[in-house]
Subunit: 456 residues, 2 copies
């Protein structure tokens, strides 16, 4: 097939940028995409009512969609028209694809630069090398995500049909929730969100699974798809991501379940099995799906704080989830374990983790904590809100989770811009900071069998 | 001079324990001392009223005094008798001495074990070696602290006299505040504490200086006393401690000043110079003096959060201040700097910081953050309080600061026990964890010119 010359030039330019300035590429791509979708949401036909959207709300919604956060200043199902909601869905899909592609690209750039042979794509798939590598990666990402989204949608659509929706509505809601779940977007297309379905396992399970698998990250998904049955051949990154993710889900579900068990405004009125489903749901969503089946604003302070911690950790590297990433937490915990044992090296699953990885983890965690602290101070200063709700919203935005105690729509415009900036920083910052720092590593340490989990 | 045999045996036993199980020594000494002072405060003559103190209040007060925290469940000046207050003063003095001595001992044990020649005491002072080393250290600690406390008292006593107090009262209050300040205890002997003196530079400056110098830690004070004019011969530990401490005071004062400038319940009614003094005061006290000249409970949410961060960092290693320590923060920041530059080593002031130190810093910071998180979750669960005040009290207890938004006296007994445990863990945990971990380091790395700042 012949490729037109301008497209070739464009691909070369992108490939070059990806190769030499991957962090800059990520930032400019995200800013451009957000600008385009802000423009689309400002069109008169994007809103359900007479008036066009205000700039701050259009920018906020576009950023939230492209960064797959799910925080909103206006109600998605009622404020936006069908066209507006379709724009949001496309923004989520493009944002999700962009994140997975760019993060994987950054990972490749890092791997290549520091001389590791480990690649995201096996050699056989990248024979075209150079030019073809980026295109090949994008293709694999698109095919994988579409396949998984289709699978989720195919489970959800019949459920919406059995609940009495028309075929058109059922397909729309099924597809919207499948895309929103797999991309960890947290946007809802039904007026009351998922609250009516708190005890609905048929609805809940595919969404929980979609969010969980999406939050593992593209490198893990690909690794699992290729080596499904052969756990010994999983990469260290895959093993760490799966272990910590599973651990957080179990610990989170037990703790949230016990905190909310008797809360009359949340789990209290529910029956036993529903409480279990709601606990698992509330434990998976902070990392970082952002859906809710009970009113987050009515949960108690302990649940909020625990959710803060889970959201801050976030999901897997190169995933649509946010936060400092589970592998960052894993490396920090392994460092403490090694310290307690007096071991010289950080070890996990029979592999040694390079020292540079630990420094990267510290940088990501420390910069993340500082960002949350500074943003919280700013919001506390410009509003009269209290720490509990401000910290929750700040971490939710930073980790692109989208859970909310309900304060975002009530913020002054300045506060909305702070949250917008935070979503952008949280989305692009962690991965670009990690890549930019990793790329500065000038030493080549070739001591096998060493393996580098992806950080940030 | 002939030493009686039982004393010799006792000294040998302590010396042996200090040499081989320094962490265990620290824990058992603190627990024993707290038990003794709890017993003393339970005596009928310790309270001003008819009834003896309740066990929970006696334990809380004894722990708070021995751990030089300053949080109280009952008002020190009115609830306790003169005898009770004297018991508290002695507990502070013994606690402060014990902390400085034990922490220095632990530091010596760590230095010795890992084969570094750097010692807290120069060779000429430890010629008696073995047996005499501990005694010599204790002597230097006692002389240094008494000298500095006397200097502060000699400035404060005339001030209390000029304010119209009798000589006896002036001496009592001057000595009490001097000891409380230098030991970063935060206990007050005047009914309204230091609030009446918010604009009093003669009162404020010596207390600020006493707290600041006390929070630097014994190794730094000794280093400065010996090499007063020759900054080039200061140890890396001294340089890092001074730099970070000063930075935090300046940043804290500017931020707190601007947050509270117009708050009608705190700085609002004060004149310009008083606002400046109050800002510096409020910026120094979180690390971890714990005195206040305005109502902490009336400060705004942003000030509370910033104070949380300052308290969590705390003071210098082997000091009566708490927190994760300024050198821990310094090492984490240096790691990020090195990462951003692509440097292979952590460097500061022309010295290379060993990699082990970084892992130790991570362990101390991470375990500290986890402790605060878990304690906050427990308190949020057993009370109906909100995150802002709970987090403040938890960090204040963990870092043995003693600042309060006022919730401690209102806590249920279970909550008081949680805070008591937190003060004990915060006081003994950070230094023993750091020492215990450091002592497990089995490698001997002898590459000069390397220097190890004390962590935790
Ligand atoms: K989300
Ligand atoms: K204190």
């Amino acid at each position: 097939m012949e490729i037109p010359r301008p497209m070739l030039v464009g691909r070369e330019w992108v490939d070059n940028l990806a190769r030499h300035h991957p962090a800059r590429l990520a930032l400019s791509v995200f800013a451009t995409v957000i600008a385009v979708f802000t423009g689309l949401l400002l069109l008169p036909q994007a809103t359900a009512g007479e008036q066009s959207a205000r700039f701050v709300d259009a920018l906020f919604t576009a950023t939230s969609a492209v960064c797959v956060t799910g925080l909103v200043t206006v109600d998605t199902a009622t404020y936006w028209s069908g066209f507006g909601q379709a724009v949001i869905l496309v923004a989520i899909k493009i944002g999700g694809l962009g994140i997975m592609t760019l993060a994987s690209l950054l990972g490749m750039a890092v791997s290549r630069r520091i001389g590791l042979t480990q690649r995201l794509l096996t050699a056989s798939e990248t024979k075209t090398a150079q030019l073809g590598e980026v295109g090949s990666l994008v293709r694999v990402v698109i095919i994988t995500s579409l396949t998984l989204e289709a699978a989720i949608a195919l489970v959800l659509i019949p459920r919406f049909l059995t609940l009495g929706e028309s075929l058109g509505d059922a397909v729309w809601h099924g597809v919207f929730y499948a895309v929103s779940a797999f991309n960890n977007a947290g946007f809802v297309s039904t007026p009351e969100g998922l609250m009516p379905y708190v005890g609905d396992w048929w609805m809940g399970l595919p969404i929980i699974l979609g969010v969980f698998i999406g939050s593992l990250g593209f490198p893990v998904i690909l690794n699992l798809a290729r080596r499904r049955t052969d756990a010994r051949r999983w990469s260290l990154h895959t093993k760490l991501t799966l272990t910590v993710s599973s651990l957080l889900v179990v610990v989170g579900a037990v703790a949230i379940g016990s905190f909310e068990w008797r809360n009359p405004e949340t789990f209290g009125p529910l029956d036993g099995p529903t409480k279990v489903l709601a606990s698992i749901f509330a434990s998976v969503m902070p990392r970082s799906g952002g859906f809710s089946t009970v009113d987050t604003g009515a949960m108690n302070e302990a649940t909020w704080l625990l959710t803060d911690a889970l959201m801050f950790v976030g999901g897997g590297s190169a995933s649509t989830a946010g936060g400092i990433r589970v592998t960052t937490l894993a490396v920090l915990m392994l460092a403490i374990l090694a310290e307690a044992r007096g071991d010289h090296d950080l070890e996990a699953f029979g592999r040694r983790i390079p020292r540079e990885t630990l420094r990267l983890s510290i940088a990501v965690a420390f910069i993340g904590a500082t960002t949350v602290l500074v943003a919280s101070l700013i919001l506390l200063e410009i509003t009269n809100l209290r720490l509990d709700v401000v910290l929750f919203e700040v971490i939710s935005a930073f980790a692109t989770v989208g859970l909310t105690t309900g304060i975002t729509p009530t913020l002054p415009d300045s506060g909305k811009y702070v949250i917008t900036a935070l979503m952008f920083i949280g989305r692009t910052g962690t991965m670009t900071v990690a890549a930019a720092l990793a790329l500065r590593d000038r030493r080549r340490v070739i001591r096998f069998p060493e393996e580098r989990p992806i950080i940030g």
